[in-house]
C-alpha cells in the first residue's frame, strides 16, 4: 500500500525528516509515536503533499506508484486521507456542501459523473449514524464554532464519506473526552478492512487501546528509531521517551 524509502524533507531549509523508512501493507494499522517535535505531523503532511515541505531525498510509493510529483488533490484522488490535528474553519460552507464537493471532484478526476443526490443522501445518513452525528450538525459551517471533539468527529465522518485507501490520523485523540474517543475509535474500526490501511499518529497509549495497532514505530529527531508490536506502546506509556532518547543519543 504505502512504501516510504529513505525520506528526507525540509521546510525553509530546515531538515525535519532525516531518512524515514516505512512499509504499510493493506489491512494493517500502524501507530507512530514520539516526543513533541520529532517530525510526526511533518511526516503526515509530506505524505499528503503539503507544498511548504520540500522532499530533498528518497521517495513515497503508493501502491507502487511514486506520488512525489503529485499535487495534494491528486494524492487525495488516489485515496490518501489525512485527518488533521487542527481542522480549519471554512465559514459559510456547510459540512454537507463540502463533502459533496470533495466527493464529486474526486469522481470527476476519475472520469465519473457526479454522485446522484439520492445516493449522496443515503451515504450521508449511513455514515453520520456510524459516527453518532446529529444531522443538524451537517448543515453547520465547516468547523466553525465546533468543539474540539466535534472537529475530530467531523474529520472521521469525512474519512467515512471518502473511503480512502490510506488514512492518516494525526493526533485524532487530542481534545477528545472519553466518550468521543470511543465513538471516533469505533468509527475507525468499522471502516477498517483488508483493503485499506491506517496510520495513527499519537502521543498516548489511550487511543491505541481502542484502535489496536499491528505495528508501533517511535519517531525521534526525524527518524524511526524503534519499531515493535502493540506492546511497545505500553512500554512507552509506562516508561516515557527518555530511555529511547538515551539509547539513540548514546
Amino acid at each position: 500500500m504505502l512504501k516510504i524509502n529513505n525520506l528526507h524533507a525540509s521546510i525553509e531549509d530546515k531538515a525535519i525528516l532525516k531518512g524515514i523508512n516505512l512499509e504499510v501493507k493493506a489491512g494493517e494499522v500502524h501507530a507512530i509515536m514520539g516526543p513533541n517535535g520529532s517530525g510526526k505531523s511533518t511526516l503526515a503532511s509530506v505524505i499528503a503533499g503539503k507544498e511548504e515541505y520540500e522532499v530533498t531525498e528518497g521517495n513515497i510509493l503508493l501502491e507502487g506508484e511514486d506520488i512525489d510529483e503529485l499535487a495534494a488533490e491528486e494524492r487525495a484522488h488516489k485515496g490518501v486521507f489525512l485527518s488533521f490535528q487542527y481542522p480549519v474553519e471554512i465559514p459559510g460552507v456547510s459540512v454537507t456542501n463540502f463533502m459533496k464537493t470533495a466527493i464529486n471532484e474526486t469522481r470527476k478526476a476519475k472520469g465519473l459523473e457526479d454522485m446522484p443526490a439520492k445516493d449522496m443522501l443515503k451515504m450521508i445518513r449511513e455514515k453520520s449514524e456510524l459516527l453518532e452525528i446529529d444531522r443538524k450538525f451537517l448543515s453547520r459551517s465547516l468547523n466553525e464554532g465546533f468543539s474540539g471533539g466535534e472537529k475530530k468527529r467531523n474529520e472521521i465522518f469525512q474519512m467515512a464519506m471518502l473511503e480512502p485507501k490510506l488514512a492518516i490520523l494525526d493526533e485524532t485523540d487530542s481534545g477528545l473526552d472519553i466518550d468521543a474517543l470511543r465513538i471516533v475509535a469505533n468509527g475507525v474500526n468499522k471502516l477498517k478492512s483488508k483493503d485499506n490501511a491506517v496510520i495513527v499518529i499519537t502521543h498516548y497509549q489511550r487511543l491505541l487501546d481502542h484502535i489496536v495497532p499491528d505495528f508501533v514505530h517511535v519517531l525521534y529527531n526525524g527518524k524511526i528509531v524503534k519499531s515493535g508490536g502493540k506492546e511497545l506502546a505500553h512500554e512507552l506509556e509506562a516508561k516515557g521517551y527518555d530511555w529511547i532518547k538515551e539509547e539513540v543519543d548514546a
Binding site: E69, E73, H77, V80, P91, G92, V93, T101, E105
Partner: protein, 482 residues
C-alpha cells in the same frame, strides 16, 4: 511535488481573457461625438419626446455644465473626455412593432453566448424582460400578462409617450438632476431604460428583468430606470449586465429611482459584469451609478447587488426611509481583481419613526485591485427608535490588493440604535491545503471559500440569479489565490 507558485498564478491571470469579450457586428446609427445643447435636443427629437421632456433634459444639461466630477471616492483613473463620447447609438434594424421572432439573429446569438437567451429565459424562468442593447429596447415580453394586472413595464422612452403623466410626476424626484455630476449628465442625455408601475395592492406575479449591455465601441450608455410601487404593492426587479470587450474606456452613468408608497415593497437585484479591463488594467467600463429609493409609511426597499465587473465602480444604492416603520436593506458582494477599483456602499437616511435598516457588505479583493466600502447611516432628529445594523466583511487574496471600509454615522436622535461590525480575513494556505487534501483543487477551493464568504448575500438573490451570480464569482476570481 508540484508547486503552484505566485508566478504560475500571475501567468494564468494574464492568459485569462474576458469571458464575454466579443463584439457583435450590428449596424448602428451613432450621433457625432461631443455634447452640447444641440445634441441634447437631437436625442430628445430622435426619441420623439414631448416638449416638457426636452426642456427637462436641457435644464439638466445646464446644471451639469456648472458641475465638476466628484473626487472623494477612493478610485484613481484618467477622467473621461466628455466631448469625445458619442451620446446616442441605436441598433438601426429596430422596429418598435417587432416580435422576438423578428429580432436581429446576431443579437440573439450574442445573448446565447452570454447564456441569457431570451427564449430560455422565457421558458425556464418565467421572467419578463425588457432588453436594452445600446440604447433602444429591442424586445419586450410578457407584456400581456402584466397588463392584465394593470402593471406597466416598458422602456422609459415608450413610457414618456404613453404615460407622460406618471413619468413627469416622478422622474427626478428621488434623484434630482442636480444631485451629482453623473446624475445631471444622465438626466441630460439618457438614452433609454426601463419604466415600471405596479398599481395599488398588486403583487407582481413574476420577476421583472432587464439586461443591459454596452455594444457599440466608444458609446457611453446612460440608462434611466424609474420604478413606482403604488400602495400595498410588491415587485421584484432583476437587472443584469454584461459588456463585450473594448479597448477604450467606456462610460456608464445610470440613474435608478425607486418609489415605494405606503405598505409597498420593492426588491431590486443587480448582477453587474461590465468589462473590467484586461490583466494589465487596460480598458474596462467606468461605472458611475446613482441608485436611490424612497420608502413611504411601512414600505420596504431591498437592494441586492453582485458587482464583479467594471474597471472603476462608483455606486451607492440608497434608501430614504421617510415613512414611519419603513425598512431599507442593502446586500452587496463586490469582487475586484487585477487593476479593478470599486468604491461602493449605501446610504440609509432615517427620517421616519421606527425605521429600520440592514447593511451587509462583502468585499473580495484579488490581484492589484482596490475595494472600498463606503456607507452612511443617517438618523434624523424626528426618527425616534431608528435601528441600523451594518456588517462589512472583507476577504483578501494575495498581498497586492487592498480592502477599505469607510463607515459614516450621523445620529441626531438619542433613541437611535446603530450597530456596526467589520471583519477582514485572508484566504489562508491552510484552508486551501485542507480542501486540496479532500480532493478539491485550488481553483475550486477558492470558489468554495468565496461562495461561503458571500453566502449571506447570495441567499438574498432570486434563485435563478443566485446560480448565475455564483458562476460569475468563480469566473471573476479564476487564477487568484491567497
Amino acid at each position: 511535488m508540484s508547486k503552484y507558485t505566485e508566478d504560475d498564478l500571475r501567468e494564468e491571470l494574464k492568459t485569462k481573457e474576458y469571458e464575454y469579450g466579443f463584439f457583435t457586428d450590428i449596424e448602428s446609427e451613432t450621433f457625432p461625438i461631443g455634447l452640447n445643447e444641440d445634441i441634447v435636443r437631437a436625442i430628445s427629437k430622435k426619441k420623439e419626446e414631448p416638449e416638457w421632456m426636452t426642456e427637462w433634459r436641457l435644464d439638466a444639461f445646464k446644471v451639469w455644465k456648472e458641475m465638476t466630477e466628484p473626487e472623494w471616492a477612493n478610485v484613481h483613473y484618467k477622467k473621461p473626455d466628455f466631448q469625445a463620447i458619442a451620446y446616442y447609438s441605436a441598433p438601426v434594424a429596430v422596429d418598435p412593432n417587432k416580435t422576438l421572432d423578428d429580432v436581429d439573429p446576431d443579437l440573439l446569438a450574442m445573448y446565447k453566448k452570454l447564456g441569457i437567451s431570451v427564449d430560455e429565459q422565457k421558458k425556464m424562468n418565467n421572467v419578463a424582460m425588457d432588453i436594452v442593447v445600446d440604447s433602444v429596447s429591442v424586445a419586450t415580453t410578457f407584456k400581456k400578462t402584466l397588463s392584465e394586472k394593470g402593471i406597466i413595464f416598458m422602456s422609459i422612452s415608450e413610457a414618456i409617450k404613453e404615460h407622460p403623466e406618471l413619468v413627469r410626476k416622478y422622474i427626478g424626484t428621488i434623484v434630482p438632476t442636480k444631485d451629482n455630476f453623473y446624475a445631471a449628465l444622465n438626466s441630460a442625455v439618457f438614452s433609454d431604460g426601463s419604466f415600471c408601475y405596479i398599481p395599488k395592492g398588486v403583487k407582481c406575479p413574476m420577476e421583472l428583468s432587464t439586461y443591459f449591455r454596452i455594444n457599440q465601441g466608444g458609446t457611453g450608455q446612460f440608462e434611466r430606470t424609474l420604478l413606482i410601487a403604488d400602495e400595498g404593492s410588491y415587485v421584484s426587479y432583476l437587472e443584469g449586465c454584461t459588456a463585450p470587450s473594448r479597448d477604450e474606456n467606456q462610460l456608464h452613468a445610470a440613474v435608478v429611482e425607486l418609489i415605494a408608497m405606503d405598505d409597498a415593497e420593492i426588491k431590486y437585484s443587480t448582477v453587474q459584469n461590465w468589462y473590467p479591463g484586461n490583466a494589465e488594467g487596460k480598458g474596462g467600463v467606468y461605472n458611475f451609478v446613482t441608485k436611490r429609493g424612497l420608502c413611504e409609511k411601512n414600505a420596504k426597499i431591498s437592494w441586492t447587488q453582485v458587482e464583479t465587473g467594471s474597471a472603476v465602480t462608483w455606486k451607492y444604492p440608497s434608501c430614504i426611509l421617510k415613512g414611519d416603520n419603513s425598512v431599507g436593506e442593502f446586500y452587496s458582494i463586490a469582487v475586484t481583481n487585477n487593476y479593478q477599483q470599486a468604491d461602493t456602499g449605501t446610504k440609509m437616511i432615517h427620517l421616519g419613526k421606527n425605521t429600520k435598516s440592514t447593511i451587509i457588505s462583502k468585499g473580495i479583493s484579488a490581484g492589484k485591485s482596490q475595494n472600498s466600502y463606503r456607507g452612511l447611516v443617517q438618523i434624523g432628529s424626528r426618527a425616534d427608535n431608528a435601528r441600523n445594523f451594518s456588517q462589512c466583511d472583507s476577504l483578501l487574496m494575495g498581498n497586492e490588493c487592498g480592502a477599505h471600509t469607510f463607515p459614516y454615522i450621523e445620529a441626531k436622535n438619542k433613541s437611535a440604535m446603530i450597530e456596526h461590525e467589520a471583519t477582514t480575513s485572508k484566504i489562508g494556505e491552510d484552508q486551501i491545503f485542507y480542501c486540496n487534501q479532500r480532493g478539491i483543487d485550488t481553483e475550486k477551493a477558492i470558489a468554495l471559500i468565496v461562495n461561503g464568504f458571500s453566502k449571506d448575500v447570495l441567499n438574498k438573490l432570486p434563485m435563478e440569479f443566485a446560480v448565475e451570480a455564483q458562476k460569475l464569482l468563480e469566473i471573476s476570481l479564476e487564477g487568484s489565490v491567497g
